[in-house]
Amino acid sequence: MKPMRGRAWVFRGVLDVDWEICVFDISHELQAKGMYTPEEIGKYCMTKVDPDFPKKVRKGDFIVGEFMGFGHDHDHACLSILGAGVAAVICDTSAPYFLRNSIERGLPVVEYSGILDAVKQGDELEVDLEKGRLTNFSSGVELQFEPMPAFIIRKLEAGGMVPLLKMEVDAGRIPKRLT
């Protein structure tokens, strides 16, 4: 997986999947309208904290957060971040369900204790998940984190669980049990 390069968007405090990251009810409304796509729900990403975030963020940028994904196991928050064009989340702490759901959705989440001391709003970053390396070009700081295991890299490269499963099905590695 190639290193990712983008700008940092810093969010402090406790970020609840159902409120700060993306209002839960939006996901219900979009489903009822048949409009539950990454692009549509991406328009509501982080808007309770920064109403213009979806307009300002560029494809490939990073969210650098303090406590990401507090609360329920709702994965609409991960979809919203992806839909906004964010390439990865780097945070001090991630809620375990947020971390798992993000990986299954194809969104890398890196936990690094003290990240907010090393990254400022707008910093240019490069993140290499395989090597476990974060380079801050704006400050010259380089950080090492635990590299992601090969099976997670494979899932992320495929774009998440569903595309990877589809590849396995197409390759005949999963039995077709239904006729």
Partner: protein, 466 residues
């Protein structure tokens, strides 16, 4: 995770007696002689119940926090009717791969109640059609009249067996089944992979042990213990961990209170919660299933990331004001706050114990005329028991709304809040819009506090009614 983030001691916090020790558990291990006899062996390494269960499920000799493992489960996996057909599940039919074992998947239609929307009805039918297409037997489909909230419905049938990994399709409160001595967690968006392959990945969590001593004062219950613990540890204090609740207070709790205590783990940042099984657990399970099982318990020298010891002797009823879930206060700081809505329900507080707590305060009284109090039993079995015990009569006489089992006001499924309404609820969480309008406010409290507050139309200390 060997590079432990929380290597520095947390400041000592106090109730009447609180002690924190690092890394090594030197306090009551939660083991009792009767339970030791059912463990298969005491590992020389010293492992927690979580590590033992996960090692067995992964087919390994042992595992440590931070290890990546692949596991399956022999326990049934309930799927709710709402939102279940996403997360890859929708492709089981389209790709003609079906599911790994139709007998192990159960559709529990209890998340949405009888009063929910047309959208809910479509969701219901979608789940039924999907189940038929992948060959799920009819007896695995629990329709609205014989179900309840999936976390509670499965717990009261002991689908999560002691010593096993238990996986739910959705709902982060599956940790409640940790009270059965299982490693209980939710597949969430990863459910499609599990349904198709029968396997899922996990990272072995660190364990945090909480030893609870003392005796609950009147007006408090397991809910206050959880909220007090949250107020001390904070929303990230248990990041990614398995909470292991132990000690004499936990031993004395009824099963419903244990489920309630474990069900809220995610609000401390934890992944799940667990209680070492004792005779009470084993009796509960044996009365509900014929499945064989092999309980596990933590070794006395197991390694914990943190150990908390606390005493509930001076615990007061706790209240969580809006809008932050983790900012908990003792009731005296919020007494007198006007409210016009109330809710007792959800997997956090709709076990029979919670209905009894409310009935004790409401018996022979009527709630304040300006207040609507929704009391929703969690499952049909609990509704039936509440009828037998006369609790429903008490609620109806007190002029409460008593819907059939479901998640109640949680996420606004039933009797949602409109702007400017102020609710006191024993539900799960309180972010703006959780129960309807973003303009409404939600205070969280135990069922006794909710009942007492609804009698007076303002936040009221329940101890005056006990």
């Amino acid at each position: 995770m060997s590079k432990e983030k929380d290597a520095t001691p947390i400041a000592t916090w106090s109730l009447s007696k609180v002690k924190i020790s690092q890394s090594q558990a030197k306090v009551d291990s939660g083991l009792r002689v009767g339970i030791r006899s059912v463990t298969h062996r005491i590992s020389r390494m010293g492992k927690t119940i979580t590590e033992k269960i996960l090692a067995k499920a992964a087919g390994r000799k042992d595992v440590s926090p931070g290890d990546y493992i692949e596991v399956g489960s022999r326990c049934p996996t309930p799927m709710g009717n709402f939102g279940g057909l996403r997360g890859g599940v929708e492709f089981c039919v389209e790709w003609k791969v079906g599911v790994f074992n139709p007998k192990l998947i159960r559709i529990v239609d209890g998340h949405l109640g009888a009063t929910a929307s047309h959208n809910a009805a479509r969701s219901r039918m979608g789940a039924r059609k999907w189940a038929k297409a992948v060959g799920i037997p009819d007896e695995n489909i629990y329709t609205l009249g014989r179900s309840g909230i999936e976390n509670m419905f499965s717990a009261e049938r002991a689908w999560a067996l002691p010593g096993e990994v238990y996986l739910q399709a959705v709902n982060g409160h599956s940790s409640g089944s940790g009270a059965l001595g299982a490693f209980a967690t939710t597949l969430s968006y990863g459910r499609g992979e599990y349904f198709i392959t029968g396997k899922t990945w996990m990272r072995v969590p660190r364990s945090i042990k909480i030893v609870v001593n003392g005796e609950f004062p009147p007006g408090t219950c397991a809910r206050d213990l959880f909220e007090y613990f949250l107020s001390q540890i904070g929303p990230t204090g248990a990041g990614g961990a398995a909470l292991e609740w132990t000690g004499p207070v936990v031993d004395a709790l009824s099963m419903g209170e244990r489920f309630s205590l474990c069900s809220l783990a995610i609000f401390t940042g934890a992944w799940t919660a667990i209680i070492n099984p004792d005779e009470k657990t084993l009796d509960y399970v044996r009365a509900r299933t014929n499945e064989a099982f092999e309980p596990q318990v933590s070794d006395p020298d197991a390694q914990y990331a943190k150990v908390f010891e606390l005493d509930v002797g001076k615990l007061e009823p706790q209240v969580v004001p809006p809008p932050k879930r983790h900012l908990v206060k003792p009731i005296k700081e919020l007494e007198g706050t006007p409210i016009n809505r109330g809710f007792i329900g959800s997997d956090a507080a709709s076990w029979i114990e919670h209905l009894r707590m409310a009935a004790r305060i409401l018996k022979g009284k009527k709630i304040h005329p300006g207040v609507v109090l929704n009391i929703t039993p969690g499952t049909t079995r609990i509704l039936r028991q509440a009828l037998d015990e006369g609790l429903i009569n008490t609620f109806v006489d007190a002029e409460c709304v008593v819907p059939t089992p479901n998640e109640g006001m949680e996420w606004g499924a039933n009797t949602p809040l409109s702007a400017d309404e102020v609710c006191i609820a024993s539900g799960q969480t309180n972010y703006p819009g959780r129960m309807g309008s973003e303009e409404a406010q939600i205070y969280l409290a135990n069922p006794m506090t909710v009942a007492a507050s609804c009698l007076e139309g303002k936040i009221t200390d329940p101890r005056k009614y006990l």
